[in-house]
Amino acid sequence: MNIPTNLFMWLVAALPIAALLILMIKFQWGATEAAPVGLVIAVISGLIFYKADFQLLAAESAKGVWSSIVVLTIVWPAILLFEVVDEVKGFAVIRKGMQRLIPNELLQLLAVSWIFVSFLQGITGFGVPVAVGAPLLLGMGVSPLWAVIIPLLGHTWGNTFGTLSVAWQALAMSAGMEAGTDMYLKTALWAASFIWIWNIITGVAICWFYGRQKAIKKGLPAVIIVSLIHGGGQLVLTQVNTMLACFVPACIAFVVIFILGRTRFYKDPWKIEDSGIMNQEHALEVKEDIPLDMKMKDAFVPYMILTGITLFVLLIPAVKNYLGEVSFGLSFSETTTGYGFTNSAVTSYSPISPLIHSGTFLFLSSLAGLIFYKSHGWIEKNGIKKVFMRSLLKTIPSGIAVIGFIIMSKIMGGTGQTMVLAYGISVVIGKGYAILAPVVGMLGSFMTSSNMASNILFGEFQLTTAKLLGLNAAAILGAQTAGGAIGGTICPGNIILGTTTANILGKEGLVLKKIMPITLSAAAIVGVILFITQVLL
């Protein structure tokens, strides 16, 4: 690979991302309008400056559309699930039930936006926590913008070791680490330590957004206890079994939050009347809509089925392996740019296994929910048709944005632009690279909308850079995956998923604007800790 790594090429590579961020944050363009602009810039840069040919661009765009289909087959059933529960006014029932079980409103919020979504992340990632969490919060009276932001923040600590640690396995594979070796365990320790910091930050941030100092004062004991379970539990379990390192603590925290709701400190009704994130008008409306004979467990039926199916299929290896045999992906030939940057041939690119795909679990849960609610007479005439139509009409606009983003990231990756961005950072700042190592992980996550893909993209790069600069490879790799997890909050795919299910598609810029300061600060904290421990000490 002979891509010239100079400032000009670095700026050219940065241009699509800069354009995207400026259009979305400064000019408040929606993702559907901003993503195509970034894509066109990436195509022109790729053709003119990175010497890509049309075959490469066509191949990468085809990979992008295929990957988008994988994402959209989660988006649509997630929206369908929301529409099913919404059709029967189930969210009003859930809200009333939560108020009874956990009278403290802040604890309710933490239960859904931090703990329940983490539980979902533990078993099935790929945006499902946000797609399920945002509508739940909406139904609980959280305003739409915050119904997207807080689960985005709340679930990403689980990105690396959640989903049965696929992102972690991707890092281990990419960096050539074998399970159980000294390097493997040390990297896992560093990763879990950095992620614990992020977990605490997100818990405190949710309290802050809810009610500033007053909410932090009230919520801090719960945040500390839950974080000890989440972050501390994960830290310990990474040394034993990485596959369950997120799932087990997430399950325990899910139980503990209900116990906390019964303690003297939290058992009485408590809320902040003028909370900036609650939609009080919505709360007033739902009081008249509650079906009298529906209990909270009835409203939760589709979610219980979702959890049951997912656990059954993904946690039992024999079932997962058997059902996972049905799989298909596309094949692509090798492509190379004029600078020798090569994309290897692949016989089955991003294979979909429909029987173990999260979208299938969501769809089946939605169907089961429809059957259950219909049998109880809670769905009106033509209600089922309306549910399907509404879900399709919401999914399609977001589909264009998802396709635009993913093709852009594929073209940037396939032409070498993403690699130049990461390489340029390391060349320019030498050992100071330690501060920006998590930012590289974040960049990967932002570009690919996936912690796993970020680890695949940059795992080997981070290892090579660490060795060249004489830095602790385990610490740098830990920062890579922690940065990738943190970056999950700003990745366009997750944001679009949230804005679509919360019915505020077009507000992605506003979401980014609110979240970016926290995300960048967290990455900076991890980077500074890394710098101090690896360079100064």
Partner: protein, 72 residues
């Protein structure tokens, strides 16, 4: 069609639905062209995908604004 109600495919949502369908169709053309190594075919598919994706910003920020300026 109710009087005064815009037909679905003339709304923004309808336009995006058409664009989405065009992208999926073009995707199959592109994949076929790549598999058969037919350059004109995969380039055509690629250009159609690009055109369908940039429909939204062009429609919102160019066509509608030009129409607004023409008629106001």
């Amino acid at each position: 069609m109710k009087e005064g109600k815009t037909p679905f495919f003339k709304t923004k949502q309808g336009g995006l639905t058409i664009a989405f369908a065009v992208i999926i169709a073009a995707f199959f053309i592109e994949v076929y062209g790549l598999a058969m190594d037919l350059k004109p075919v995969y380039i055509t598919g690629f250009i159609i995908i690009l055109a369908a994706i940039i429909y939204s910003p062009v429609e919102v920020y160019l066509i509608k604004r030009c129409n607004w300026r023409l008629f106001n």
